[in-house]
Amino acid sequence: MKRFVPSSELVVRASRGEIPAISRLITRAEMGLDECRPALAEIYRKAGKAHVIGITGVPGSGKSTLVANLAAQLRRRNKKVAIIAVDPSSPYSGGSILGDRIRMTELASDPGVYIRSMATRGAVGGMARSTLDAVDILDVGGFDTIIIETVGVGQDEVEIAKASHTTVVVSAPGLGDEIQAIKAGMLEIADIHVVSKCDRSDSNKLVVDLKQMLTLGLASKDPKDWLPTVIGVSSYNGTGIDELATEIERHRAASLATGRAHQRELAIASFRLEKTAETLLIERFLKTLEPLRPALASTLCKRERDPYSAANELVSNALPQSIDQTEQAARAWTRRR
């Protein structure tokens, strides 16, 4: 591809499942090239068939190894599997070491598996800004199961639940007690809990803690709701991988049967809209901020101004309309409809 291949042409090739075209489109989505916007719009319209599985958990909990084993299991069930593995970018240089692929060497050279590493590039929440564009591209490229592996997250990065049809939270033994398990945040988003490294003797304690945590919530649940399960998995000796694949399929089938899948699609669309708008706003804002930043930071540092008034001035520059005007415009727009 020495000449610059137009993105519209790449869409045609990607739709035929050509891997180089799929890969290049993902790169262009990451770059946010204006040239590829119409192509990505076409991709978005065509996508929506694949089952998107989100895998999240703390750093070192064994997500990548689990993803590799899960993908191998799904391959045995005749799924075409794409994996998007997100790793952090350096807050200092912006660079990254994308090391998830190294845990997935067993999958190498299987044409039914595609692995793409992505750096967060400053995005928070566990994914990169273009992760969901990549999901659509892979969907149109013919992959029926797409696994998003988030960066290693803490307690509060829960965006993956708003981006996937089935969310798997991986917990590793030895990191906390039963109070840790009833805290709000990451543990709440799981459709399926996985306890990794369950060849270790302390893993059963965590399985019990998580199960107890789930029973505490039973009283306030609608009986029709999905009840998350806890599965002990060992990538070391292979325990639980088959069970996990079956549970993921059961969750998908149950969601489709009850209409929860549609609710989830709506939530994903709404989240996508919000995140995209946020990105546009931030880009626009940073353009205004960058030239003014050094001078304003200096006045703040000398305590000549306060952060609120300085920031307010910046925002007014980036978004000339005041909040009141924006609200008026929104009301007028709603009335017209």
Partner: protein, 135 residues
């Protein structure tokens, strides 16, 4: 937003020494590049598949085992079969001067031997991507 340069660093064959390639990985990361490391003992097929899936700007193959004249022809053949013609391939490690000449004829853009400082590696890769232009 400008795109960080994407690099796949690969170790091919029965070569168990990756201290050097990890030093390079770190230097590239600190220069703001996205670095994917293949891990040890990969085959040319695996490396080429990874380079295509990851759509890297640069494939850097590190060799300390003397098999460069076997590995690189295979890599170029596989790239050719897949119709990839805009990937920048560089070599690193320890190899004889006469091989360096042959590798460059084959299409290896730069051969960065053991005494090249990290800063020069960063500058070289940046220049190669600049010369290639938009893709």
């Amino acid at each position: 937003m400008t795109q960080p340069i994407r690099v796949l660093l690969a170790k091919v064959g029965l070569d168990g020494h990756d201290r050097g390639v990890r030093v390079v990985a770190r230097a590239l990361r600190d220069a703001g590049m996205d670095v994917i490391y293949s891990g040890l003992h990969r085959t040319p097929e695996e490396v080429v598949d990874a380079a295509v899936q990851e759509d890297v700007d640069i494939l850097g193959v590190s060799l300390l085992s003397g098999v460069q004249m076997t590995v690189f022809p295979k890599i170029f053949k596989l790239l050719d079969q897949k119709g990839v013609d805009d990937l920048i391939v560089v070599a690193g490690g320890v190899m004889p001067d006469e091989d360096v000449v042959e590798l460059k004829k084959m299409g290896v853009r730069e051969v960065l031997l053991q005494d090249v400082p990290p800063k020069t590696i960063v500058e070289t890769l940046t220049r190669l991507v600049d010369e290639r232009g938009a893709r």
